[in-house]
Amino acid sequence: MAAYNFRHALFCAIITLIISYPIIGFNLEAQGIKVTLTGADASTLTMVLLAAVIVFLFQLFRENILGALRSIPSPLPEAKKEPMAENRRAKIESWVLTGIVVLALFWPFFVSRGSVDLATLVLIYIMLALGLNVVVGLAGLLDLGYVAFYAVGAYTFALLSQYTGISFWLALPIGALLAALFGLVLGFPVLRLRGDYLAIVTLGFGEIIRILLNNWTTLTGGPNGIGGIPDPTLFGMEFGRRVKEEGNTSFHETFGIAYSGEHKVIFLYLIALVLAVFTALVIRRFMRMPVGRAWEALREDEIAARSLGLSRTAVKLSAFTIGAFFAGFAGTVFASKQGFISPESFVFLESAIILAIVVLGGMGSQIGVVLAAIAVTILPELAREFSEYRMLIFGAAMVLMMVWRPQGLMPMRRIHIELKKQE
């Protein structure tokens, strides 16, 4: 056994060297059309060597290390906690959450413009992740083209404002409904496919929509995108220095305060906050309704669900459509925040980030997903060096989570239902 362990450990270490040394140890540099090869510096090579040594030691003492790890109690909340004093816990939880939302309402008035802007982005990601959570976490449908619906929402607003001068408030429901319609139409044929096929087909759909946006230059402006998307107004009051549209007044003049660019940023943030809270509440309600339970039932056992009279297509389609609806929501807010959109904002990478948020937070768990959205969006901003490694770490984290903690960092907690004995 010991000899086998040693051989295996050596083998793993050699494999580690083979997969890391050629790629990391040499740098290809293009100079004009000529390509030259340079060796990496000594510290990089040391790292490669160190990695191989670590793999060797880990494999050699694998059993001991894993045993030691198992004996450390997990600091994270366990999935199967006793549902004790459910009512009290639920009450405390709702108070805490209300407190956080109230805090979030006042917070932007005391911080810098940059932070508020970032927070708006976080809220957009929260909306997206909550929506995808319905599709992936609850219904168990792996949608890799989720960003397409986000794009539909954003482009709906951009195009309508360009051609008809529509306002943000009208575009918001239209964008969301149109995205939902896309979800319905695209979902209808593909939802009878098995899980892995569904993943690849949605990925294909996402790419098709992006390619169309890129190439339909006359309508979408192609890679140049669409600019001049208007800001939202508050009861006809605009947030710009000068009023752009007839009949509107400007916010700072109405209230007799000095113009400040911050007003608009804060206003957008508040809109995003309200919409994110709305999204969370609606989906929370859905989870407690028959439709939400049907999503989960289908995820758990499709055959049993069908045998109880659930129509597979109808249930999956509802999840897909509702998920798309909230993506459309987020897309409209995003377009308004940026003022400019192009296909580059809707690449597969975005879908992957949103998926990573859902997976890290805990599939099905709303609080987990919100926390993960905050972490995933803010961490790269806090540490600039980190942002380069962002996707590398997301990828690795997705694998590690699936291997060690597929329920996510904050697993979904089942709803406790009080039953009275029936006579």
């Binding site: 199967k80 859905f286 339970r293 056992d301 049993a304 109880l308 089942r414």
Partner: protein, 251 residues
């Protein structure tokens, strides 16, 4: 109420079920028995709509249902359990029962979102029905446990309760006693009889436990290698030479 006429099911070159007929009257327990691989579960799969039979007819309350989608057949009042228990294992016990009652609940999304009074009443009714059946199968104390964490016998009972909350007319049980100990089998025996006597449900039963089958069945159908071998009351089956031969031959 149920009539299966000359049912056939072919997979490629294999004729798994060949001209099987059976009928179930109201207020009756009918068993299907036969050696392993005789095609019993395939008959069930055709009846419940998971397979589209390649021949024959299935009439439920006078209407042809063969080839209809599974969820539609279930909505007509023919509900089944599975040979290997199929629960929604990450959902709680009571949620399992609520899923089964989705048809009784208003499916209108808006009324659920704003909790209209009629929605609340219906929701309370389905909770009460769930509580009633959980109590009936002795799982009320475990209502908020995850279904996957129940003991095997409890899972079996939960699966039956989950069928019963849909208020079916015909219940199809696929080897409900498999994996149960003698005490649990006895309880199951009483439960099935009570379903017929107290709740007016007809039962079609696939089972290997002969004492259970002989005890509770009103009539028995024997199939062997996909073909009908015999049918009759338990007494007739016990004395049928073909049946004895098939079973002894297998042993």
């Amino acid at each position: 109420m149920l009539e299966v006429q000359n049912l056939s099911m072919r997979f490629g070159g294999l004729l798994a079920v060949d001209e099987v007929s059976l009928d179930v009257q109201e207020h009756e327990i009918v068993s299907i028995i036969g050696p392993n691989g005789a095609g019993k579960t395939t008959v069930f799969n055709c009846m419940s709509g998971f397979y589209k039979p390649t021949g024959g007819k299935i009439l439920f309350e006078g209407k042809e249902v063969q080839g209809k989608p599974d969820y539609k057949i279930s909505r007509l009042g023919m509900v089944r359990t599975f040979q290997h228990v199929r629960l929604f294992s990450q959902m709680t016990v009571v949620e399992n029962l609520l899923v089964a009652q989705h048809r009784h609940l208003n499916t209108n999304l808006i009324s659920g979102l704003i909790k209209t009074p009629s929605y609340r009443t219906k929701e309370q009714k389905s909770l009460d029905r769930a509580a009633y059946w959980l109590d009936r199968v002795g799982l009320l104390d475990l209502a908020n446990r995850e279904a996957g964490n129940l003991a095997y016998g409890q899972q079996r009972r939960l699966e039956i309760a989950r069928c019963m909350v849909t208020e079916p007319k015909l219940l199809m049980l696929d080897e409900p006693a498999a994996g149960l100990n003698p005490a649990e089998t006895k309880e199951l025996n009483q439960l099935i009889i009570s379903l017929k006597e107290d709740y007016n449900v007809s039962v079609v039963l696939i089972e290997h436990d002969m004492s259970l089958v002989m005890d509770i069945s009103d009539r028995i159908n024997v199939i062997n290698q996909g073909r009908p071998l015999a049918s009759g009351t338990p007494e007739e089956i016990r004395q049928n030479d073909d049946v004895i031969k098939a079973y002894l031959g297998e042993a």
